[in-house]
C-alpha cells in the first residue's frame, strides 16, 4: 500500500496548482492550463467511478454477445462494433441501443458530466 497522499489527493494537489498558478497566465500556457485541469478532473472521476462503470459495461457486453463476462473490454467492444457493422445485431437493435445508452452515460459522467 502506498503512503498518503492517495492518488486522488495527489491529483487534487496538481489541480490546485494548475488552478492557482497556471490558469491566470495569458495566452497559450493559460489555455493549456485550463485543458490540463480538466484532464486532472477526468482522471479523478475515472478513479472514483471507472471500476463500477467497467463492471456494468462488462455485464452488458456479456448479455449482448452471449458469452461469459469478457476480461478485455476492448476485444469485446471490437466484437460488438463488428456485429453492428455487418448487420448481425440488427434484429436486436433495442437491446443494443439500451446497452450503449447506459455505457455512454457512464462515459460522459466521467469525461464531461456537464453534458448530462
Amino acid at each position: 500500500m502506498q503512503d498518503r497522499p492517495t492518488a486522488e489527493e495527489l491529483l487534487e494537489a496538481v489541480g490546485e496548482f494548475l488552478e492557482h498558478d497556471v490558469l491566470p497566465l495569458e495566452g497559450r500556457v493559460g489555455f493549456h492550463g485550463r485543458v490540463a485541469r480538466n484532464v486532472v478532473d477526468i482522471v479523478r472521476r475515472e478513479l472514483a467511478h471507472g471500476p463500477d462503470a467497467n463492471a456494468r459495461e462488462r455485464d452488458g457486453l456479456a448479455q449482448l454477445l452471449g458469452t461469459d463476462p469478457p476480461g478485455d473490454l476492448t476485444t469485446a467492444n471490437a466484437e460488438l462494433a463488428g456485429s453492428i457493422r455487418d448487420g448481425s445485431l440488427d434484429h436486436r437493435r433495442d437491446e443494443v441501443l439500451a446497452h450503449l445508452r447506459a455505457v455512454t452515460t457512464d462515459k460522459v459522467r466521467i469525461a464531461s458530466p456537464r453534458e448530462l
Partner: protein, 326 residues
C-alpha cells in the same frame, strides 16, 4: 519557416504594384499544416489596409491557387467572402499561400452566441445562413476548378459512411456507438438530388459576424463536390451548437428560418428529415476527427495535452449521436 515584414512587403509591392510598407504582422492561428497571419498595408497617405495572409505548410488543403479561385467564384455569386488580393508565387519566398482582405467582425462562436451587440444579428442569422448556403450550392461547377469529388459512389453519404468506417479501422479503437450511427445512416440514405459545390466546414466558427449579420464565410479548405445537404446538417450538428441545443442552427437559430432562407436562393425545398440525417453523419465525422486528433498525440506526431484531452470528447459526441437515432 517564419514570415518577416520585409519579405512580405516585397511580395505585396510586386503583386499589387504599390510602394507601401507592411506593419503589425502577427500570427493569428497555426495548425500543423497551415498558418494565418494578419498585417496592415500602409500605402502613402491612405488608410492602412488590413490584410490576411494564408500559408500552406504541407500541401494538405486544396492548394492556394484552387482555394483563391474558389473564393473568387463564390464572391461573384453573392456569397460573402474575403476578397483575394493575390496568390503567392515562388519568387515571393514565403511558401504557398495567398493574401486576402481582412473582414472585421467576431468569429469566436461563444461570443457570437452571447454578445449583446450581436442580438439582432443572431435573430436573423439562421435565415441568412440559409440564403448563403443556397448561393454556395448554386455556384456553377465549371467556375470552381478542380475539387475533390465523390467518384465511384452513387451517393455521397454512402461514400462518407465508408470513409468513416475505414478511419475507425485504421485507428483500431472500437466505437460501437459510432458504428450504430453509421449503420442507422446506411439504412436511411436520403434522396440525393445531384452534386453541387459543398463548403465542407459551414458552421458557427467559420462566420465573421457583425451587428449586421454574417459578413464573410471563411475556411474553404474542405470544399468539395458532393451533396449540398451536408453543409446544412454540419451547421446544425449538436457539436456545433456550443451547448445551446435548443437552437439547432449553430446555437443561434431554428430550422424553419434556415430552410426558408435556403429555398429563397437555391429554389429547393429541403426535407428537415434529410438535414437531421446529415446532422447524425456530421456528428459521427466530428467524433472520428476527435479520435484522429487524440491519436496524433498518442502516436507522437504532435505531443499536446490539448490533443490528448480531445480523445475524451468523443464520449459527449457519442452521447449526442444516441439522442438523435432510434
Amino acid at each position: 519557416m517564419a514570415v518577416d515584414e520585409a519579405t512580405l512587403a516585397d511580395a505585396v509591392r510586386r503583386h499589387l504594384d504599390v510602394a507601401g510598407r507592411v506593419e503589425g504582422l502577427r500570427r493569428l492561428t497555426g495548425g500543423a499544416s497551415n498558418e494565418t497571419w494578419s498585417f496592415r498595408l500602409v500605402d502613402g497617405d491612405g488608410q492602412p489596409e488590413p490584410l490576411i495572409l494564408r500559408i500552406d505548410r504541407r500541401g494538405t488543403w486544396l492548394g492556394p491557387t484552387t482555394e483563391a479561385r474558389l473564393l473568387e467564384a463564390a464572391g461573384r455569386h453573392q456569397v460573402p467572402v474575403p476578397r483575394v488580393r493575390f496568390v503567392l508565387d515562388e519568387d515571393d519566398g514565403l511558401g504557398a499561400g495567398y493574401v486576402m482582405s481582412h473582414v472585421e467582425g467576431e468569429t469566436i462562436p461563444q461570443r457570437i452566441l452571447r454578445d449583446e451587440s450581436l442580438a439582432d444579428a443572431r435573430a436573423a442569422m439562421a435565415r441568412q445562413a440559409g440564403r448563403i448556403a443556397g448561393r454556395i450550392h448554386t455556384v456553377p461547377l465549371e467556375e470552381v476548378g478542380e475539387l475533390p469529388g465523390v467518384d465511384g459512389h452513387a451517393h455521397p453519404a454512402q461514400a462518407q459512411i465508408d470513409q468513416q468506417r475505414e478511419l475507425l479501422d485504421a485507428y483500431g479503437e472500437p466505437h460501437p456507438v459510432l458504428e450504430l450511427a453509421l449503420r442507422w445512416a446506411e439504412e436511411r440514405l436520403p434522396a440525393f438530388e445531384g452534386a453541387t459545390l459543398v463548403h465542407g466546414d459551414f458552421r458557427n466558427g467559420n462566420f465573421v459576424v457583425g451587428p449586421d449579420g454574417i459578413r464573410a464565410v471563411l475556411d474553404w479548405e474542405l470544399a468539395h463536390i458532393g451533396d449540398p445537404l451536408e453543409d446544412l446538417g454540419w451547421l446544425c450538428a449538436p457539436s456545433w451548437r456550443f451547448r445551446r441545443l435548443d437552437h439547432p442552427v449553430g446555437g443561434f437559430g431554428h430550422y424553419d428560418d434556415l430552410l426558408a432562407g435556403y429555398a429563397e436562393t437555391s429554389g429547393r425545398e429541403v426535407d428537415p428529415e434529410a438535414v437531421r440525417f446529415w446532422e447524425v453523419l456530421g456528428n459521427v465525422r466530428w467524433g472520428v476527427i476527435c479520435i484522429i486528433q487524440a491519436f496524433t498525440h498518442l502516436q507522437g506526431q504532435h505531443r499536446s495535452v490539448e490533443l490528448a484531452a480531445i480523445g475524451r470528447r468523443v464520449a459527449e459526441v457519442e452521447h449526442q449521436v444516441l439522442a438523435m437515432i432510434d
